[in-house]
């Protein structure tokens, strides 16, 4: 049997969840034995070269590029696992969902904020090369169907490891109390 293929990506996240994935320490050597990586920042493969078994998503969707990548993952991966609070509920980027319209957020960030010093022409970035910012931050499962959710900020390395082992071996997942945390 060929090795299961894994793809990973970070959408509107901080790469903390990927750091947590690396936090499995020496078990990463076992992981390399167990699986093959495709599109992922870990091996720097930029586009899918084949159909994958497991897609791991970090971060929610805050712009059109995030949505595009997420849909691409759904198309190319049999099982999608979202990791981290941002992917599950938008996380800290979703704090802008609460009150302010997007125009207000951009004005605060580029014009009005106390730390803005060098924007004399009062430019808010709006090049067509840039992905379009969405009206609010969307959790991944509001865009495509997600199969599994692993909470945490970042999810504990053991939680990610246990989930991956369960998915690869087909056994039930080991879920001790200490690994499910939202922070």
């Amino acid at each position: 049997m060929s090795k299961p293929i894994i793809a990973t990506t970070s959408l509107a996240g901080c790469f903390g969840c990927h750091m947590s994935l690396l936090d499995i320490d020496e078990r990463i050597l076992d992981l390399i034995e167990l699986v093959e990586f495709n599109k992922s920042p870990i091996d720097d493969i930029k586009t899918f070269t084949k159909q994958c078994d497991i897609g791991i998503i970090e971060g929610g969707c805050c712009n059109s590029e995030n949505v595009h990548v997420l849909k691409d993952f759904r198309k190319n991966c049999k099982t999608l696992v979202v990791i981290g609070e941002c992917a599950i509920m938008g996380g800290l980027p979703a704090m802008r969902n609460n009150n302010a319209p997007i125009s207000e957020c951009l004005e605060e960030a580029y014009l009005n904020c106390v730390s803005v010093q060098a924007n004399e022409e009062k430019i808010i970035p709006n090049d067509e090369e840039l992905p379009m910012i969405l009206d609010r931050v969307y959790p991944c499962h509001e865009i495509v169907k997600i199969d599994y959710f692993l909470p945490g900020c970042a999810p504990r390395a053991d939680l990610i490891w246990n989930a991956l082992v369960a998915l690869v071996t087909g056994n039930e997942m080991d879920l001790p109390y200490e690994v499910i945390k939202f922070d």
Binding site: E85, I88, M89, G90, G91, L92, A94, M95, N97, N98, N99, R136, P139, H141, E142, Y148, F149, L150, P151, C153, L175, Y177, E178, I180, K181, F182, D183
Partner: protein, 235 residues
């Protein structure tokens, strides 16, 4: 008070007549999850998390007085499902950003979600528009995190004074409101008391927070209710 027999999960326990089912269970080492209940104040039964099968009906354990030969079941799959669903609803209808919350790790709502192994709420997040009230010099009220349990309103922080908190508006616009005139001279002790009354991070002391490292906070290692389950029978 006269002694009665109450059957909880198939075992007969002796209890004082009129004591609430929740208290009888807790005293005998049986944990029933609660959110709006706070030791020492009159129970209200609004969060429904303590729902148990009492004499065949779903009733809140915190507001139902125990009676002789009452049959209580606290942990069927159906009840656990009801409780987990209530927790999920609360997470979906507020703005609970746990990673940025001072109360994370000591929060009762979060601890219940851990206990029920909530990975994601089954309901869509509402992201309601809510704001902060930081006018008081000692405490801050974050309406995003409030679950409207009314504990801060029901508990008198000082015996002689009325509550300094009130409900404002109705329906899904309801929010807690602080009397700013009466609480202008809040000291640290009262502020701490107010914060401890809140099950979530809606009432937060200013200039305080994140002082216990991750891994050592109240619910990092031990699930909520494990103290009750571990201490066994007390009376």
């Amino acid at each position: 008070m006269s002694k009665i027999l109450v059957n909880i999960n198939g075992v007969d326990y002796s209890a004082e007549s009129g004591k609430m089912v929740l208290k009888v269970a807790n005293e005998n080492g049986i944990y029933i999850p609660t959110l709006c209940h706070f030791e020492g104040i009159k129970p209200q039964g609004s969060c429904r998390v303590c729902t148990c099968k009492i004499d065949g009906r779903n009733m809140t354990a915190c507001t139902t007085p125990a009676s002789h030969r009452m049959v209580v079941v606290t942990d069927t799959a159906e009840l656990e499902k009801i409780r987990a669903t209530i927790i999920e609803l609360l997470f979906a209808e507020g703005n609970h950003f746990c990673p940025a919350c001072e109360r994370s790790g000591n929060c009762e709502l979060q601890a219940l979600a851990y206990r029920y192994k909530m990975m994601v709420p089954q309901f869509p997040y509402l992201f309601p528009a809510k704001d902060l009230d930081a006018k008081n010099p000692k405490i801050m009220i974050d309406h995003n995190r409030c679950i409207l349990c009314k504990r801060c309103i029901r508990r008198k922080l000082e015996p002689d004074n009325p509550s300094w908190f009130v409900f404002k508006n109705r329906g899904n616009k309801t929010q807690i409101n602080l009397d700013h005139e009466l609480t202008a001279d809040f000291d640290d002790e009262l502020a701490q008391k107010a914060m401890d009354t809140c099950p979530v991070g809606a009432i937060i002391r200013k200039e305080k927070g994140f002082d216990v490292p991750i891994g050592e906070r109240k619910y990092d290692k031990n699930p909520i209710g494990s103290d009750i389950e571990n201490k066994g029978v007390t009376s």
